[in-house]
């Protein structure tokens, strides 16, 4: 056991920091926690990293991964969080790509991996349905074989940022007679295929982050099936495990605490900086202790992964605790800005908006707090994660 960075790791940190400082798009500085970005804004940094060869550090080297050690990846995460970088979205890079390079065929790898790496192609995740949320295995969307095509019918929902998507990966039922988990297939769909309609869902913070995705007689070539027919649940679960790693969001929360400290130093209570009032100082300390706990739990998990064990049910701890920290952070940030949380930054055309009212740091404080309630719901809700621990670890 050893917590010191080696001289090589320190040099690596310097290299990474210099690269970010030089290349991170200036106009995007500080907007990494916003939800209302354009496609170009979301992809800008991804594209820079693609050119540098750093967009997909976790992939195997032969597909474009960097071969970094977990310590290097940790440093990479921290340095990006320092500038609130808008990181490559997970749907392509860390969800569908691992499924494609693990279970896909050579044509699929050649066709899809380069676009994911470079940031040219945007992917969305078509798992959830109105009737299939926590009980994902109950998906009803069907894919029926018709010659060399599948014909897909059904409705997906909560499809994050599908309004920008070029491709999507969908769980579809290919054997309606089999037991729930056994008749599902994992199919890649070009989002421009006729019969796909993406309808916006507005969330409580006012942003358009998710969508309903309706599929009516969507004809998809059979070669878009990944792996074997009716084995999709295996791939879906494999993907969920990948979705969970990194979900702890340690580096980003560290940066969030720094930002909270800055705010609490500027806000005053009866002339005393908020950060010096015992009540608030202790809340920040508590949060920092929770975050440190999370960090070392994640480092332990990474170490056991590096030792050859895949992400196990223990990563459910990271999901639960990581999202609790993220939510608490936004809660304290809103508390810190007090009444200036009220102006509605997004607003609407008819109403005008409250952006720029009060100190800069108060913008989006309430909106972000509202939005982050999603984290204990998506990616397997925190109740489901606790069920997984109950079943898989406690054996109850």
């Amino acid at each position: 056991m050893n917590l010191e960075f080696t001289p090589e790791e320190i040099a690596f940190r310097e290299e990474v920091r210099a690269f970010i400082e030089e290349n991170y798009p200036k106009e995007l500085a500080g907007s990494g926690t916003r939800e209302d970005l354009s496609r170009e804004q979301f992809l800008a940094w991804h594209k820079v990293l693609g050119k540098k060869g750093w967009s997909v550090p976790a992939w195997p080297v032969k597909y474009g991964g960097t071969g970094w050690t977990s310590t290097q990846k940790y440093i990479w995460g921290e340095e990006n969080a320092r500038v609130d970088a808008i990181m490559p979205l997970p749907f392509g890079v860390s969800m569908v790509a691992p499924v494609i390079y693990t279970f896909g065929n050579e044509e699929q790898k050649a066709k899809h991996l380069p676009g994911i790496r470079s940031g040219e192609v945007w992917w969305c995740q078509g798992y959830s349905e109105p009737g299939a949320g926590s009980d994902l295995a109950s998906v009803k969307t069907t894919a029926v074989r018709d010659g060399d095509h599948y014909v897909i019918n059904g409705q997906k929902t909560w499809t994050t940022l599908a309004q920008h998507a070029d491709w999507g990966f969908f769980l579809c039922r290919t054997d309606p007679t089999a037991k729930a988990q056994e008749g599902i297939s994992f199919i890649l769909v070009d989002m421009k295929t006729p019969g796909i309609e993406v309808r916006p869902i507005k969330l409580i913070d006012g942003t358009h982050e998710v969508n309903e995705t309706w599929l009516t007689d969507v004809r998809v070539p059979v070669e878009n099936l990944v792996g074997e027919e009716n084995k999709g649940w295996t791939y879906a679960k494999f993907l969920l495990a990948h979705e969970r790693s990194g979900i702890a969001g340690v580096a980003r929360s560290k940066r969030g605490i720094e930002r909270l400290r800055d705010i609490a130093a500027k806000e005053t209570v009866d002339g005393v900086p908020l950060i010096e009032t015992p009540d608030f100082a202790r809340k920040i300390s508590q949060l920092e202790i929770d975050l440190t706990t999370l960090e070392f739990t994640e480092l332990r998990t990474l170490a056991s992964e590096a030792a050859g064990k895949g992400p196990g049910p223990e990563s459910s701890i990271l999901k639960v605790k990581g999202t609790e920290v993220q939510q608490r952070l936004t809660e304290l940030t809103l508390e810190a800005v007090n009444h200036y949380g009220a102006p509605y930054a997004y607003g609407m055309e008819a109403t005008g908006n409250g952006a720029g009212i009060g100190p800069d740091y108060a913008d989006y404080a309430a909106e972000t707090y509202f939005n982050m309630r999603k984290t204990s719901i998506y990616g397997g809700s925190n109740e489901i994660q606790r069920n997984i621990i109950t079943k898989m670890i406690l054996g109850l």
Partner: protein, 384 residues
Amino acid sequence: MDFNFTEEQGMLRDSLAKMIRDQYDFDTRRKVVASAEGWRKHMWMQFAELGLMMAPFSEEDGGLGGGPIDAMVVMEEFGKGLVVEPYVPSVVCGGGFLKRGTDAQKEEYLSGVMSGENIFAFAYAEPRGRYNLADLETTAKKDGSGFVINGHKAVVIGAPWATHLIVTARTSGGRRDVNGVTVFVVEKSAPGITTRDYPTVDGRRASEVYFENVSVGGEAVIGDVDNGLPLIELVSDEAIAALCAEACGAMKVAQNMTVEYSRQRKQFGTPIGKFQVLQHRMVDMFMEAEQSVSMTYMATLKLDEDTVTRKKAASAAKVRIGQGGRFVGQQAIQIHGGMGMTDELAVGHYFKRLTMIDSEFGNVDHHLKRYTDLSAGAVPVAAE
């Protein structure tokens, strides 16, 4: 001891509940909130016709002879319907100051509050004052028999709709001194007042209000010059009791909606309400909502007791409601799953309102400290 409502209060509640049910359904509210005006003047006038604005005032003052309990009844229904019209700013705060003003002030303004024609907003918060009502950078300098007001008031709820403002300003002493604070009533259209209006995250409207050499006469002072703080604290405590009642209404609805949703929503072949972990969570929500009601009654009933008792009661209730509102709001979203995150469902709007109530008139920490200081006898009290 008696926790029953009078017959009049029961009738007021029933007819208000009916009016809100008929004319304030969630879709209508959404449209109103998204409109340029952000409220409905005609709805406000209907509330006035129903007697809501007159209810809490004495018959002497032209009211119906009620008091804070009537305001509580009204605000609980407002909370259930997520009503955005400015009852607390105009009736509880505006009316609360004016009924303690001079006969001339009552004559000039209070009847208008009761008819609904005068709409008040309470400009007390400042950009750097946080929740300390005496932490004022807005000044009112003596000028002949009147005053000249300069300053910036922050997040004045309901100000875009207001015809008049109640303004707190420093007339002497240093920033945060308990003495030297004075309350003024001004017309919002007075020369030198400008506003920047905006929507709030919970569907209301507010303004930043700027005063630049705004001249007012001596008759604009409510209460005593330099000794306005006790009155400000009293009216703020009344506003707290009313906000607590609003939160109770919102909590009850959010909790009921969640129970109902858990009955309808099926996953794994069973209603999610059958999962014991969610059952217990909903029981906790229920207990929080009930306890909030208890504390709201307590604070409302103690508004006319001695100053320290009243302040402690208001702070205690605000702490309980802040904590309960947060729990109920967050869990309502959680148990609704993805649906809870949507703008389309009402539950998220209850969550947002409950969140923001905590930041009005002092949050949990502020009131926990105020309560602690009062218990220790450590609060500087202005000469009364």
